[in-house]
Amino acid sequence: MKTIAEINERIKNRKAVVVTAEEIIDLVEEKGVKKAAQEVDVVTTGTFGPMCSSGMFINFGHPKPGIKMTRTWLNDVPAFSGLAAVDAYVGATEMSERQGMQYGGAHVIQDFIDGKDIRLYAESYGTDCYPRRDIRTTINKHNVNQAYLYNPRNCYQNYPAATNSSDKIMYTYMGTLLPGFGNVTYSTSGELSPLMNDPEYRTIGIGTRIFLGGTQGFVAWEGTQHDPGQARLENGTPVSSAGTLAVIGDAKKMSSRYIRAAIFDRYGVTLFVGIGIPIPMLDEDMLIKTAVRNRDIVTTLVDKSGREDLGIRLSYETLRSGWVDIKGRRVPTAPLSSLKIARDIASTLKDWIANGQFLLSEPVEKLPYRKERLNSLEIRGE
């Protein structure tokens, strides 16, 4: 048994033993659970995939004379400004009014992180205290006040794999799905994924310090659509979409290596977000949880055409093999989230911790763990 405070002492003294959630698998195989649990202090995880529910708050600073912005555009992408005078929120999936899907909120965020100038245009009705009625200027990360990503739903614990039984090609947020079960796509870093390594949210909670987009960020809240009541395997991992996180971090310190704008053909704009979460090895149970392998975790296969209820569960080992069997047919699989960059994140975070630059935090509050499932939106009369 170790406490987070004890682990942090070891981190400060640069004595902490840190391994990634992939490395821990071999270590446990080699040394056994007991020995590995004594030796290892922290296991790092990582994920880098498209996460639509992301966006950035900005405070532009006040011009002279002042303006109470009511409608705001950044590089022709509408930003929400139904907030105080010069605050705005640009959502990742918002599309440019000139270029449509070719450029969106995610691109504004990436350009901002890259230090580029961004055109700001805002309108107002003018008030006694804020008389200006419009403003046209450029902003960048050096001349605005705060700019932070606040992503209401990132880091999905698990996500269904997608296929298409119809006779038409489908353009979806799960990529291009070829007709007649032409392919299967999936989006996870599996055994390296943060919430797969702490499936019952023992250590990851509100206030947890994390790697977000290349800098330190925090878990702010349960993510939207957080659904801990999903059915689970005996090892605690859910069989389909379950837990999610709302995360927050300083956009000015992020890097576009870990925050990238993306376009899913004929679907829309999204943002690839890089997240890594350290898991303290409090006891043997925690170690066993982080030693989970792709063959021990599964997801559900969904027919995006909605025609068939496939009822198929696939292990991530099978999905990673490149082929799956659907009704006796050999169907190729393709990932959508980058395991290569997820590994980069887990090992960067490992270095930060080993070098004493990143301390673990005790969650301020646990994430909810409840049985009730999600509501759906009913269409109701008056």
């Binding site: 291009t176 990238r260 999204t270 393709a334 959508l336 980058s338 290569k340």
Partner: protein, 135 residues
């Protein structure tokens, strides 16, 4: 020596023309078949690299035309801007010829130019827009 990439379209009634063997025997060409979809009583397509003496290649193209068989040359090539690639793998979902695959070691994208049919599907399927067709 000249190498071209060609897509050959067989009308239904020409499916039985022994084209590939003629190209090899009569025109002394090397034929590397990249993709073939040919069955009786249907139109067919064949994508291949043809290599040989420049005159023979030109004569072979004339011969194909004379048989009433259509063809299209690929003048473009696929450019992968590797430095901007995030190795997500979304492009591998649509590549018909397995020119794009994921390394199961490093999980990097691997591109085998030889197998590429220059179909352009990956240029749209790549969410990072790092694939393009160029002349």
């Amino acid at each position: 020596m000249k190498t071209i990439k060609i897509s050959i379209y067989y009308p239904v009634d020409k499916i039985t023309v022994p084209l590939v063997s003629t190209l090899i025997k009569e025109f002394d060409l090397q034929v590397n078949i990249l993709h073939a979809d040919i069955s009786l009583n249907k139109t067919g397509t064949l994508v291949a690299d043809l290599a040989g003496d420049e005159r023979n290649v030109d004569d072979a193209l004339r011969y194909i035309e004379e048989q009433g068989i259509g063809y299209k040359l690929f003048n473009k090539q696929l450019i992968w801007h590797e430095e901007l690639c995030v190795h997500c793998g979304a492009c591998t979902a649509v590549c018909p010829s397995h020119a794009l695959t994921m390394s199961h070691e490093t999980w990097s994208l691997e591109f085998d130019k030889e197998k590429c049919l220059v179909c352009g599907l990956c240029t749209k399927a790549c969410p990072l827009n790092v694939m393009s067709l160029q002349d």
